[in-house]
């Protein structure tokens, strides 16, 4: 499991890759919560483009971060969820709770031009 974080103008984008299960979720959870406290961003974007596998521990991780972000007034979004990850998020109704950004919408909102 790998994690990268970019904090740009109050928008913290955390990109996860690899597998999210109960074993890996603990470290990710602690790392994101630390970043939320340190950066106190306006928005948290969890980019799941590199996730090869996710089970219900991933759901717990996403829902837990949503609750944590809400407590501190941070808006949370998901980005680049694969069909597989989307299927699991949908089962728990997460898709109705947390907005998922599409790649083009995300870039537009960042004001970036990618070639």
């Amino acid at each position: 499991m790998e994690m990268t974080a970019v904090d740009r103008e109050g928008r913290l984008t955390v990109t996860l890759s690899g597998e999210i299960d109960h074993h890996s979720a603990k470290d990710i959870r602690e790392a994101i919560d630390r970043l939320l406290v340190e950066a106190h961003p306006k928005a948290l974007v969890l980019d799941l483009s590199g996730i090869d596998f996710m089970d219900s521990s991933g759901l717990g991780l996403v829902l837990g971060r949503y609750r944590r972000a809400k407590e501190t007034g941070t808006e949370m979004y998901l980005a680049n969820t694969s069909d597989r990850v989307g299927k699991i998020l949908k089962m728990a109704g997460v898709d109705k709770l947390i907005r998922t950004l599409r790649k083009d919408a995300e870039n537009k909102s960042k004001g970036e031009n990618r070639q």
Binding site: E19, D21, H22, H23, A25, R29, F53, D55, S56, S57, L59, G60, L61, L63, G64, R84, I88, M91, A92
Partner: protein, 154 residues
């Protein structure tokens, strides 16, 4: 109607440590790959196995380090494409299986659990059975037809 015959079987026992969640997924998916499943079918199996094994680690043995914490997995497949996986622990058991299987129910308050484990197992397989004796352990049996969309005997 053709008689169903068992074509292959494996059994493996390992310690209930979270690092073995990935191991158990790889083990079962490697065995299931002999049936030439689709990527979707393999993903379903890996996810269902991960849920069952995580339950053993989080709920069956909890924080008690004194007992023998083992999980045993067996798998078999049959001539009609039926794939059967059984995940067994010797932990605390489940008092109320019906309640434990309710979506969003979690018996753990110490960790961030979504309570969706059994719902995922149920939806990603064709059949899920849970047998449990409080104080003695739990056996989860999941069945899935590979390469046979109807999921029926011929």
């Amino acid at each position: 109607m053709n008689k169903r015959t068992r074509l292959n079987y494996f059994r493996c026992e390992f310690e209930a440590r979270s690092v073995n969640e990935g191991f158990s997924r790889m083990l079962v998916s490697a065995f299931a790959s002999q049936l030439d499943p689709t990527i979707e079918e393999i993903c379903d199996i890996k996810t269902a196995v991960s849920e069952a094994v995580t339950n053993c680690i989080v709920h069956a043995y909890g924080d008690d380090r004194t007992e023998k914490r083992t999980i045993s997995i067996s798998g078999s497949y049959y001539s009609d494409g039926l794939f059967v996986i059984r995940i067994k622990d010797k932990g605390c058991g489940i008092d109320n299986i019906e309640q434990a299987m309710q979506p969003m129910y979690s018996g753990s308050s110490s960790e961030e659990r979504s309570g969706m484990g059994f719902s995922i197992m149920e939806s990603f397989t064709d059949s899920l059975k849970v047998r449990s004796s409080p104080g003695r352990g739990t056996v989860v049996t999941m069945k899935k037809y590979i390469g046979n969309a109807d999921g029926k005997d011929e």
